[in-house]
């Protein structure tokens, strides 16, 4: 039996401090964020803390968000573009539990901090907004070099030749670059980043943006940033254009549109409905809702 100990734990364990992490951890995270902003695209190592959700579920993004949030902030969490995805709901609930005062929102334009997995919102973000990405693989070189120490040297020397060789091999084998998401993107003319598993559709949004993009890899313990007004260029060849997902129907040649709001320029989720027919719908739920609201207001 441990009576004294147990009482201590009950008292202490009942409430956690604001934003869960201890203050030293938050301070360390903020220092890493500053460094990441100062060296665009450079992966800053940090002592990633364990979160109460599993590694791989967004612990890097969560630590950034927890270090950024103050009681005046308004926060939005999305996964696959949607607010109601299980993981987004789970993380939102955690913030609700541990960040008293912070306002939750589903509206992109209302949020000061947005944590995301796999998407950049369709609505262009403003200078007073921060987008926090959850990152599984922070290093774009991992596809060509498994050893972390070697990769670190390669980044320092901006030695990315093997990435281009990979693209070239794709062209030889498939006549197409086969990288679908996590597209290697050169930041400010030096470091190449893994922009997290966003689709190619979202990569151009990184370039010369108004807002700050922060990337947090919890398991791999790295933070990096694409600051506002910074070049972000997906790597490709002079004679092979970077191509985003096109959603064109193979037979009609027409682009599919969202079945809810009719958008013909958004990233779409494609899925079979109950009758087995393929349907298309905006992946960004807030964007879709906003368009529907506007249409309703206009009518």
């Amino acid at each position: 039996m441990h009576p004294v100990d147990t009482m201590g734990q009950t008292r202490e364990g009942a409430t956690y401090g604001f934003a869960f992490l201890d203050e030293d951890a938050k301070r360390e995270l903020r220092r890493a964020i500053f460094k990441a902003v100062c060296i665009p695209g450079h992966q800053v190592p940090y002592a990633s803390r364990e979160m109460p959700i599993a590694r791989g579920f967004g612990t890097g993004g969560m630590q950034l968000t927890l270090a950024l949030l103050g009681p005046d902030d308004t926060c939005k969490v999305i996964d696959q573009g949607a607010d109601d995805s299980v993981n987004a709901a789970n993380i939102r609930n955690f913030f609700a539990l541990t960040c008293p005062g912070v306002t939750g929102t589903l509206r992109t334009e209302a949020a000061s901090v947005i944590q995301t997995r796999h998407r950049i919102p369709e609505l262009p973000l403003r200078a007073d907004q921060i987008l926090v990405f959850q990152v599984p693989y922070p290093d774009p070189l991992v596809v060509v070099e498994a050893n972390a120490a070697k990769r670190r040297r390669m980044h320092g020397r901006a030695d990315y030749a093997r990435l281009w060789v990979k693209l070239y091999e794709d062209m030889v084998a498939f006549d197409e670059i086969t990288i679908s998401h996590r597209y290697p993107t050169r930041i400010n003319g030096h470091y190449i980043i893994d922009p997290s598993p966003i689709p190619r559709f979202d990569v151009p949004k990184l370039h010369q943006a108004e807002c700050l993009y922060l990337f947090g890899a919890g398991r791999e313990k790295r933070i990096y940033a694409v600051p506002p007004h910074t070049d972000a260029v997906p790597i490709t060849f002079n004679d092979v254009a970077f191509a985003v997902e096109n959603f064109r129907d193979k037979t009609t040649g027409q682009r599919h549109v969202c079945r809810r709001c009719g958008a013909d320029d958004s990233f779409l989720d494609e899925f079979p409905d109950n009758d087995g027919a393929r349907v298309f719908q905006c992946s960004d739920a807030a964007w879709c809702d906003m368009r529907l609201d506007r249409r309703e207001a206009a009518e």
Binding site: A54, Q80, R152
Partner: protein, 368 residues
């Protein structure tokens, strides 16, 4: 943060959590008491203590109860709790010679100073079911306890024992212990950037996942490597935790932790002055977990061999390969995450496959 009501996912995860709880409660079994977990499943409990990297026996029991007995999940509870606690200070290195020993064996010598002490071990049990255990009452426990203590003479065994390896050191067969004044690497406050010092290597393995360490160490034992360990000494016991007094700075005892420690002696190597000596591998972890301590000691040696030779010949000798893959919280989390929605990236994959197939069809249709 104010709660935002939304559709779908939020309701589903709430329902799922309630069902988890219901599965635990439904049926006829009595609620598990934390003491039962700690007392009757001490080896499972030990795994959680060491992989959770927080010595809190009571919370380790709660973690096991809450995680329905999954040791990875239970260790995870302790780790997450740890993130909310600041680091208060640093202790001086602990000398395990002060360990209150409950078991110690050496495979290197028939007899050792202080004697071999088998203690409690399943090593020589026949793994035959004792079907009578299926129906035990409290009176059985009383009887077993009485029988054990009944004929025990007091003060027969000493509390502490000398180290077996000191004998080898005295003879010069092992290199003398170097007094290191290097500050230990705190893996909870610094990320691993390779190359890392040995203290980081040991700390990472000390909270590594037992199965992960075992798999990599076993690969070395089988032939992907050549450590060929002899267990110089394996000891289990309670080590007094000495922390600096907040005012005087003098070390004072704050409690004790159950620790398993293993020192393996490996093949000899040349030293700078030419006389060869045996080499050493070290493993230690919270709780009673001998497989983990031995596996860790083998890997410690394997990595050091490669470092000395400047050549990595096997996965178990590669510090990056070993240290970045033995953490149970990280590997389990990442493995689990594949169950989460990935439909945006899959959409993107389909786009690329369709494009590549389109190109292939064009090429097939093109006139030759």
């Amino acid at each position: 943060m104010a709660y935002v009501a939304i559709r779908g996912g939020a309701d589903a995860i709430k329902g799922s959590a309630r069902l988890m709880d219901a599965l635990r409660a439904m049926g006829q079994s009595a609620p598990l008491e934390l003491d039962q977990i700690e007392r009757q499943m001490p080896l499972l409990h030990s795994k959680v203590l060491s992989e959770g990297s927080l010595y809190h026996p009571r919370l380790a029991s709660l973690a096991l109860k809450q995680s329905l007995g999954d040791s990875l999940e239970a260790a995870f509870f302790l780790r997450a709790y740890r993130s909310t606690k600041p680091r208060l200070g640093e202790t001086a290195p602990h000398d395990t010679r002060t360990m209150r020993v409950v078991r110690r064996v050496s495979a290197a010598f028939k007899d050792i100073p202080g004697g071999q002490m088998l203690g409690a071990t399943p090593d020589y049990l026949h793994r035959l079911f004792r079907f009578d255990l299926m129906d035990e009452g409290p009176e059985t426990f009383d009887q077993i306890t009485r029988d054990w203590f009944g004929n025990r003479p007091n003060g027969e065994t000493p509390l502490t024992f000398p180290k077996v390896l000191d004998t080898l050191r005295a003879e010069g067969l092992l290199a003398p212990l170097a007094d290191s004044d290097e500050a230990p690497f705190d893996i909870t406050r610094e990320p691993l950037i390779f190359p890392v010092p040995r203290s980081a290597q040991l700390a990472t393995m000390a909270r590594g996942e037992t199965g992960g360490l075992l798999a990599l160490a076993y690969s070395n034992m089988r032939g992907y490597g050549d450590v060929h360990p002899t267990v110089g000494e394996l000891r289990v016991g309670y080590v007094p935790v000495m922390v600096p007094h907040p005012v005087t700075g003098k070390p004072m005892e704050a409690g004790e932790v159950l620790v398993t420690e293993c020192e393996i002696v490996a093949m000899f190597e040349k030293t700078d002055d030419g006389a060869p000596v045996f080499t050493l591998g070290y493993g230690a972890c919270f709780g009673h977990n001998e497989v983990k301590a031995i596996a860790m000691a083998v890997l410690d040696r394997a990595i050091s061999v490669a470092k000395d030779k400047g050549r990595i010949a096997n996965p178990s000798e590669d510090p990056e390969f070993v240290l970045l893959h033995v953490d149970g919280i990280e590997s389990m989390g990442f493995c689990t995450h594949y169950k989460m929605p990935h439909y945006v990236t899959f959409q993107s994959d389909m786009d690329r496959l369709r494009a590549a197939r389109g190109k292939a069809e064009e090429a097939a249709d093109a006139p030759r």
